[in-house]
Symmetry: C2
Subunit: 459 residues, 2 copies
């Protein structure tokens, strides 16, 4: 079984056997198959695709390339959520607190931001003292104490994915549904969870701009998870504008604390709703609640009772001595030296926001990374004052830019302003179409039903 | 212009600019673009294709990655032939002698065999003392003296192709018409020729099994050569059975000498005809003759007068003191220690020969290479006694196997016999279909016309 023959096989559109995928993935992880053969194979996979069976095999082999968490010593169901990434996407902090507050275990292993999307770990590290690098022992101990721990991927978890992802990143082979599915699912299934809710974003700020692509990826991931004996559902959710009212690490933590404190305003409505919705599905898939509707009620109860906020404080306290005072006094979060308003130059209604561009505006301020090596300025970002459908007057602020200037020649603010200039579409008439927050549910073919503005179509 | 963006561009099926192709090819040749990015790009090229313009640009940039021969100090037209490779394909020696004997210059830079196809250099090296590694000065001096020199690719010629080909070989990216075209044409155009005849093989022993694939490659090469100001035509020729009656290095040289000496039998008819036909096109494209038909007559004259044989002797004499006595006494060519007959086990007619398998039978005897590092046994091979359409009796020899046994455990003969067993199809009835020797001519839209059994359809 020479690697070149396996490359040729996939190039010609044939289906790999378990042994072939294992030879490739394990050979590459062990270093016996060189980068240049693996990248040719990855490109063949991207362009020729993989069958559902191949994807499940690839996921399983990548999962088994490293350690898996054994959470059997912790009683009760374990559940997690994974998002494909977006702008202002910060549901993790709220739903982890809600779900753990209700008694489930949430062993959340997350990543860092790259490109226009933010990363859970970066946002957490804007909280002074928060430690995302726990040892496995510490991770277990935090999980047992409070039902939730939020950490980064360890070297032990899915090393094949780590090596493959680095190669995909530099060889134009990221955008393969098969490879994305195996990458996500191999890491998530290594967490030793019983159930998983996937938040697959679609829209101008999402990785999958087109809804059909998002649905396709969701179907692959749901089926792969179910084949491996997990309860999995995917929500196709809207990322055609930022979620909530903030974009940027500490600003996003601030907004989450506002919601958990019950101090949120109308511009955070979508964020609060989606956090509740994802929590509801986590309750439903673990049989904590017997319907998604009952799950919503339980999530609401965790929020309004303050139990989620208490849980969030507990997580902060346990993870390396995080400064829990930020929860009571969010002003203690890092803040930028300067703010300036980005103003509308016309009267009308916002009919569209170029969501990815808004993420990039935050990135160029220092809030994100264009390369893996870049460091993050946790304080910078945007606070939105208007979203799609809102009326706006000439001269009225669309958003407040929080920025730092590290030198006289620093042109990050002007770059961000330039990007924002082309990110808003303002028209005379109020836009007619209102995109739903949840477009569709994949794999939730049980007792899901629509509620309020959230449209759910079970598959 | 990051390499990853160029990979993504080709992956998405877009067309590269000149600057983009130059950045990739020159960056890779210089070592600034790593193998793993180039192999992903090569796979994207293989699966997404290249436009005619991209192929011409790629060829030109690969050509200019190294030195080109300046033959302007040699008077008259320079012309070469290139074959895509086959089994028993040995026209080069005959046509080089014919065309040089008629006063044209043939600067022939050739390759070695790999897999089931033989290589011109390997065959030449079966002649005791023949030197294929001339310096550029010696090459020019031989060319000036006798109008023909036969050498291997130098390090100076198209180094981009050398590096790319090695990578393609191990990454399943050999079989791209665009890449094959650029590889062949960049080397051939570096020879400083005015005209080029391409022998594109099709059939069970060819690289392109299907005629439409051969025609497609031929069209790409003809158009690329013409775009670069050369007169180019391609003959789509049959490789559904070996050409001539011998397969194996010294055995093939022997057959060529027989033809030049006028001692050839009926089983060498196709080889003699194709050598004449290719020579005729070389005469026609250089305006040595004003029709292909006149070219055939001139080629015949060179053969029957003995002038081609004299020219062949002269080449041997000039290229490093080759033993010209082999021309007069071909028995002085290296010969194997043993021979054995491979016999038919039934009465009937040969209806098909698995041509690639017959090439592999010679390879396993030691006559070819399965890896680049393999050494060649010049003496071994097959002498065919029957070809497609011939009647055969049970027990009659189909071919004589020439072999050496290097050790007691040497099982090369038994391997070859096993392969031969499955290579012949013998049926009761004489086969009705007779494949033409020349299926089609691409790019010869001038005054070509059919002659005798050779069917030529101008495009």
């Amino acid at each position: 079984m020479r690697p070149v023959d396996l490359i040729r096989k996939k190039r010609d559109g044939a289906e790999h056997t378990r042994e072939e995928i294992a030879a490739l993935v394990n050979g590459y992880t062990a270093g016996s198959i060189p980068d240049y053969q693996m990248s040719a194979w990855l490109m063949a996979v991207l362009l020729k695709g993989m069958s559902r069976t191949e994807i499940a095999l690839l996921t399983e082999i990548m999962l088994n390339s490293g350690a898996t968490m054994d959470l059997s010593s912790i009683p009760g169901k374990k559940v997690d959520k994974h998002s494909t990434g977006g702008v202002g996407d910060k549901t993790s902090f709220i739903l982890a607190a809600i779900v753990a507050a209700a008694g489930l275990t949430v062993p959340m292993i997350s990543g860092r931001g790259l490109g226009h999307t933010g990363g859970t770990l970066d946002k957490l590290e804007s909280i002074p003292g928060f430690n995302v690098n726990l040892t496995t022992d510490n991770f277990m101990s935090v999980l047992k104490s409070c039902g939730c721990a939020l950490i980064g991927q360890t070297a032990e978890i899915a090393p094949a994915d780590k090596k493959l992802y680095a190669l995909r990143d530099v060889t134009g082979t990221v955008e393969s549904p098969a490879l994305i599915c195996a990458s996500i699912m191999s890491k998530k299934l290594a967490e030793g969870i019983d159930a998983l809710v996937l938040d697959v974003k679609t829209g101008s700020g999402a990785f999958m701009k087109k809804k059909e692509d998002a649905v396709h990826l969701a179907e692959l991931m749901v089926e792969t998870g179910q084949q491996m004996g997990k309860r999995v559902a995917a929500l196709i959710t809207d990322m055609d504008q930022p979620l909530g009212r903030t974009v940027g690490n500490s600003l996003e933590i601030l907004e989450c604390i506002e919601i958990m404190r019950g101090e949120d305003g109308p511009l955070s409505k979508d964020l609060r709703e989606l956090s509740v919705e994802l929590s509801a599905w986590m309750f439903f898939l673990t049989d904590k609640c017997d319907s998604v509707d009952a799950g919503r009620n339980l999530a609401e109860e965790m929020l309004t009772s303050g139990k989620a906020l208490d849980k969030f404080k507990q997580i902060l306290r346990l993870q390396g001595g995080g400064d829990i005072s930020v929860v009571d006094k969010p002003s203690r979060l890092p803040h930028a030296a300067h703010t300036t308003e980005f103003k509308s130059s016309s009267d009308g209604f916002i009919t569209a926001m170029q969501c990815e561009q808004i993420g990039i505006a935050s990135l160029v301020l220092g809030g994100g990374r264009s390369k893996k090596e870049d460091t993050i300025d946790h304080a910078v970002g945007l606070i939105l004052h208007k979203k799609v459908g809102d009326a706006v007057k000439n001269g009225e602020s669309l958003c407040t830019i929080h920025y730092n200037a590290v030198s006289d020649s620093d042109n990050r603010l002007s770059q961000a302003l330039e990007i924002l200039e082309s990110s808003y579409t303002i028209a005379v008439d109020r836009p007619a179409i209102n995109r739903p927050l949840v477009h569709q549910v994949v794999g939730g073919a049980l007792r899901a039903r629509g509620a309020g503005e959230i449209s759910i179509a079970s598959l």
